[in-house]
């Protein structure tokens, strides 16, 4: 009988089966001793991508820091659903100050730990895309520029979901939000330049920048753990679908995150000191329609009054990402 390599992927999925891996190669979430940093009982919506992303990210950071971790949280869904007075889901020291200052609060915590000689205690800051790419952007850039010892995690659900689904600078073109309604000759969000915060973070030449999605949770854990092995300013943007804000089924969160990556709409990569060091290749390239159609925020692009030219413009964005980040496997360009 000829040699057959062990197949780590479960039948019909691209997910690595933990049971087939050695103990030390298994995911943080698979470990019974994981920190459960964001405990059950919080009030996130069914299918919330942010809750899933935060659970994996913070547990991974806890694992890597041996439980010596402090979190600063921006105002937003994550803060609101996790700490309704008098309850808290957080099993680690956690502070919420304001919407736009989580990076600076984290800088203060890191400074306090440094001055007290507690180099073992690490600091993460986290917020949604509104708190990161818009209102917290000044503080974020300052934290990057000083290379403060903080890992900032942005949970990107492409809009202000906590306040009722308004547009942020991370909202994609053509998307319907409460402030970019699908009316008029050019329905939905404008086709601007967008604000690509991972690239802006890279322009600060900080030690580590990465993107991830909740469809590739092992990749997410790997990136958080890698980031936690470094010192200085680090940034991870995690793509987290929002069933409520996107008008998508709760059971489609993982699927949409995967489609965002597989279409090229959300490039998944990592960069060190301003240079891309790896990309997560597209496995099965699909057209953007596949990603757009399950989401009501793009429903106005299809059906009776379809806007095929708008879909084509979105496809062009995906294609540009694919070219720019070289997202297709070798030989598939």
């Amino acid at each position: 009988m000829s040699f057959q390599p062990v197949k780590f992927y479960q039948t019909g999925t691209l997910t690595v089966g933990n049971r087939l891996l050695a103990q030390d190669e298994r995911s943080v979430q698979a470990n019974q001793m994981r920190s459960n940093s964001i405990n059950s009982g919080h009030r996130a919506c069914q299918g919330c991508g942010e809750a899933l992303g935060a659970r994996y990210a913070i547990d991974a950071a806890m694992a890597e820091s041996n439980g010596q971790l402090i979190a600063a949280n921006a105002t937003g869904c994550l803060e609101v659903f996790s700490t309704p007075y008098p309850e808290s889901s957080w099993q680690l020291p956690w502070i919420h100050s304001l919407f736009g200052n989580a990076p600076a609060v984290a800088t203060g915590i890191a400074a306090a730990m440094k001055v007290k000689g507690r180099n073992d205690v690490r600091v993460v800051a986290q917020g949604g895309d509104g708190g990161t790419t818009d209102i917290g952007f000044g503080c974020l850039s300052g934290m990057f520029e000083r290379n403060d010892d903080v890992l900032y995690i942005c949970y990107d659900n492409q809009g202000y979901m906590n306040t009722g689904v308004q547009r942020s600078s991370a909202t994609p073109p053509a998307a319907r939000t409460a402030t970019t309604m699908p009316v008029g000759p050019e329905p939905g969000n404008v086709f601007g330049q967008g604000k690509n915060v991972p690239e802006i973070a890279m322009a600060h030449n900080i030690p580590y920048v990465a993107t991830a999605t909740v469809a590739d949770l092992r990749d997410l854990e790997y990136k958080v753990r890698k980031a936690m092995q470094m010192r200085g300013a680090r940034y991870i943007q995690i793509f987290v679908p929002c069933p409520l804000g996107w008008g998508a089924a709760s059971h489609d969160t993982i699927r949409l995150a995967r489609l965002a990556k597989e279409t090229g709409m959300f490039p998944v990569f990592e960069a060190e000191h301003g240079e891309v060091t790896s990309v997560l290749k597209i496995r099965n390239k699909v057209a953007v329609e596949e990603y757009l159609k399950p989401q009501k925020r793009f429903a106005h692009l299809f059906g009776k009054h379809a806007h095929p030219e708008t879909v084509a413009r979105l496809q062009a964005i995906a294609d540009r990402n694919i070219r720019k980040y070289n997202l297709l496997p070798e030989g598939e360009n």
């Binding site: 200052n101 001055v115 000044g138």
Partner: protein, 419 residues
């Protein structure tokens, strides 16, 4: 040790003696020399261990202080004017979270029109933020109040602004007794936080609070300031025992025992006022002075007790509640409710306008005769004001007010462009 020293440098030395662990610095006049002084001390290693962080805005300065304080570090920053306003959201947040941050406010006017000179508009805009506010009369008092402020803030777990007049104090070189490290250490113990971000004992700070408990949280902030009313005089007494001088407290009176007219003010102008009162006393006027050191908490009972034997008072303040009148005066009136005392408000010195003794002589005499309007604007150029009002009546496109004033008052050498 006695030193001939700039006010800002003296404050920087006092802060350093308080062993701050995290200092956040962002430049804004007239506060800048303080953090420059501290930055040099940290860089040279004379102030250690301490993290000195050059932040990108005042909003970040206060936010870094919030993080540092919540993580158990003694945190300090300084600001003024627009800077204080830029950090307002974080100012309220620091108080709401109950973090004992100490901040110097080098008092300066608020624009527009942009103006770097002294008045009290910046601090007083934050009177309801939950921060305690202590106003220094001299650079010696500014030094002493900072040392007391850390003690008071940490005792109550609430933040404090130490307010000192921009330029008039911050940039004035005068004799200041800088305490020794031993004295400060004897007075100010290491920071023992009431709440701290600690992996050994995880807690959530800054949870969302709905109607079921929000009022209680806010009341407790008020209760803390009521406790401060008791604590501030005690801390001043203790300060005197160690440092050997009267400094701080809630209020300070001068020649008030038999005074029929009492002048009330805050900050450095009290020096000029006392000189005028001395001169008027020499002429037989029964006039005295009440200086308010603690504006928040506002010492209602003490102010009332100081005034109750007089016949009238005049509040001379470097601030204006636009559309109403005085800010300090409103607080003083609250203190004397039902007393029947006549009270006058005098708005003076806005944007650094000089307050000369001659103007005060005239003002105080008018107050004695009760000839003043309820609100007086000291040394206001009525001709210029009336000219602009008339211009606005005559001309729709009357132009920018500030520029018109500069033209009309001859500061800019050509006549007004509009109207």
């Amino acid at each position: 040790m006695l030193k001939q020293i700039e006010g800002s440098k003296a404050v920087a030395e006092a802060i350093a003696l308080c062993r701050p662990e995290v200092i956040c610095a962002y430049p804004i006049s007239p506060q800048t020399h303080i953090v420059e002084g501290l930055g040099e001390m940290v860089k040279s290693g004379t102030l250690t261990p301490c993290e000195f962080i050059n932040v990108e805005s005042e909003f970040a300065a206060m936010s870094v202080a919030i993080g540092a304080s919540a993580a158990g570090a003694r945190a300090y920053t300084a600001t003024a004017s627009q800077g204080l306003l830029f950090m307002v959201e974080a100012v309220y947040n620091a108080a709401g979270l109950g973090l004992p941050i100490v901040m110097t406010v080098a008092n300066r006017a608020i624009g527009a029109p942009i103006n770097i000179w002294n008045d009290h508009s910046d601090s007083l805009s934050q009177r309801d933020s939950g921060w305690m506010q202590l106003f220094a009369e001299t650079n010696q008092e500014a030094v002493d109040l900072h040392i007391q402020a850390f003690r008071l803030a940490e005792e109550l777990s609430m933040p404090i602004m130490v307010c000192m007049d921009g330029f008039i104090l911050t940039h004035a070189f005068e004799r200041v007794d800088i305490p020794s490290q031993e004295q400060v250490d004897a007075y100010l113990p290491p920071f023992e936080p009431r709440q701290v971000l600690d992996p050994a004992e995880p807690m959530s700070i800054g949870a969302m609070v709905g109607p079921e408990a929000f009022m209680e949280v806010k009341y407790l902030a008020h209760a803390k300031q009521m406790q401060a009313i008791e604590l501030i005089p005690k801390l001043a007494d203790e300060f005197k025992q160690i440092f050997g001088r009267d400094s701080g407290g809630l209020i300070r009176t001068y020649q008030i025992e038999d005074a029929e007219t009492v002048v009330i003010a805050m900050g450095s102008i009290l020096g000029t006022i006392k000189d005028v009162v001395d001169e008027m006393r020499a002429e037989g006027h029964k006039i005295g002075v009440l200086g308010i050191i603690s504006f928040r908490p506002f010492p209602l009972e003490q102010v009332r007790a100081a005034l109750i034997k007089s016949k009238r008072f005049i509040v001379l303040e470097k601030s204006l509640a636009v559309g109403m009148g005085g800010i300090v005066a409103t607080n003083v009136r609250m203190a004397v409710t039902g007393s029947g005392l006549r009270g006058f408000t005098a708005i003076a010195g806005l944007g650094g306008r000089a307050i000369p003794k001659s103007s005060l002589h005239k003002l105080f005499r008018q107050a004695e005769q009760e000839e003043l309007e309820p609100v007086t604007f000291v040394d206001l150029d009525w001709a210029a004001v009336n000219k602009q009002l008339e211009r606005e009546k005559q001309t729709r496109r009357s132009g920018p007010i500030a520029e018109n004033m500069l033209h009309d008052k001859g500061i800019v050498g050509v006549s007004a462009k509009f109207g």
